[in-house]
Amino acid sequence: MAAIGLERICKSFGGTRVLRDVTLAIRDGEFLTLVGPSGCGKSTLLRIIAGLERQDSGSVTIGQRRVDGVRPSERGVAMVFQSYALYPHLTVARNIATPLEMQRLTLLERLPLLRLLSPRRRRIMRGIMAEVEAVAAALQLEGLLGRKPAELSGGQRQRVALGRAMVRRPDAFLMDEPLSNLDAKLRVHMRGELADLHRRLGATFVYVTHDQTEAMTMSDRVALMLEGRIEQLGTPAELYDAPRTLAVASFIGSPPIACIPVRLEHEALVAAGTRLALRAIPDAAILGLRAEAVTPVRHGTPGALPARLSRAENLGAEWLLYATLEGPAPTPVVCRLTAAAHDAARDAGLLGERLWLLPDPARALLFDAEGRRLVAAPLRTRIGAMA
């Protein structure tokens, strides 16, 4: 087990700057996810931790040790690749055994044919195979040890790749989009298995994904990366409820957050001609409303925004109402309702073709023109400023 420290990492490919001064402290034993759109540098950062890529400047520490210039295999990390990268000519057992063979056998004992001359090799291989079987049992691969990767399903290959990583008992696991080659149902299942594995092993997990659902469901902390920088680092709840910027708010959350242009008029916020019942903050330019931050209300309710309903999705336990705000710039807004709330609103006649949506002051997020989130200053300092 080990903490991982990244200190001012920079990396360019050709003229493209992929990582710009990334500093990140990953705690011992935590499940940290690097999430972001493709091209944000998250995979490159993971490969730099693994030692597969060399940073242009900055340093990496694993445990207490600086590992710049240390070979990938000597960093005490294991990696799971998106393609699994299993050796296709070796059986499942030999695939999982490979890291141990490399550690414990001499070069001569690893060579084809020549290895048959060594009596020591057979003894060591027996020990390795015992460990392989233990790992296979933990991953429910016992019956498959004699098969080749081509004879396995995607989920089974995934588990073999995990087994190959686990068998070395690494301090940290690095995972590069390990679930993206699986079908949707299996992905949900493996999400649970990975989280479970993390709890059992207690090792540090660094997980790269572009899928915010994976990031939100498995991680202790999430580092959201945009354009080679860490835009925000925090728990999934922090990223969702208290995004630092509009970019974070737009990336995290499904359906996406609605971004409504607002203006300050006579100490009040106005959106598309409607005076909002929200506390005004100077410099506010954009109102961010997540699907659960609006509720349909009766016509004439103060602060409600007029909208047109374009479609409604029934997800069983809840409904998603897709609407467009009326006004000079039509803005899409989604409203999430529990099934009971939906039925009540429908019975009250609130869900016509035209509907009024009231933002929840506790959940509404305000951003300035540069996309920075604005937080209402505590009351006391405001009084102080006024005095």
């Binding site: 990938p72 294991a78 000519h89 490979t98 070069l107 060579l111 081509a150």
Partner: protein, 300 residues
Amino acid sequence: MSLALAAPAPVEPFALRIGHAYAAPAALLLALIYIVPVSVLIWLSLTDYTLGAVDIRFLGLDNFSRALADPVFRRSITNTFAYVAIVLPGGVLLGLGAALLVHRRIRSRSLWEVIYFLPVTSTLIAMATVWQFLLHPRLGPVREITLALGLGEVAFLSDPALVLPTLAAIGIWQLVGFNMILFLAGLSAIPRDLYEAAALDGASGGIDRFFRVTWPQLGPTTMFVTVTTSITAFKVFDTVRVLTEGGPAGASEVLLYVIYLEGFQYFRIGYAAALTLIFLAFILAFSILQAAALDRRIHY
């Protein structure tokens, strides 16, 4: 209705004709290129036909039993196998080695590719003449090297013990570039992920990388290269015809050269046809054997 269900519906005659029409071009080509010539060959091999002869006698399998007892033919088989035994490992391993070296080069890669590939594009007959000059025991530049090494004058092409290895070396020289290109294609197709996984597993040295990833991944390429190289080597003819004409004292008489002599110098077409069939049988056996042997290991 019940009748139609009882028996399978007969194929509509029109649909059948359409089907035949679609198959006809391929069938015709197959017949013209393979089936008819081989049939004629088989028929000729059972006769005593000589070029220009008016009457033909049917001999049955006499030509074949004669061939098996013919010392010239038997020696040519031994010589051919000896030649293949040198060219096959030499051509494959040197091709692989060249590919591994050239693959690492980034900017100079295409230059090296051209250099190694040049012998493939050149006419072997013309090149054989150049080799004849190079290897000439009195006039050739190679003489200087053998003298410097203290080996004296070496008669590469007229010493019975050296003539086959010398021809084989020329054969390898001509094949290496082609095999290298095939291996380069195979090397480019190996996923980078595998090397990275190997690096994390601890297989970062060149030897481990080669035996964990490169060599197993090149399995299909190696099989293809082995089969084409052995068939090409088995068909050796041009260098023998130009450089040695089978000499000295039959030491470089190979299968195809004997067939050529029988068919086109002595005009014994029937006998030559029988030898050709034996030659084809060898090639077929070669391909089947290698495909079967390598098949078990390359299908993942």
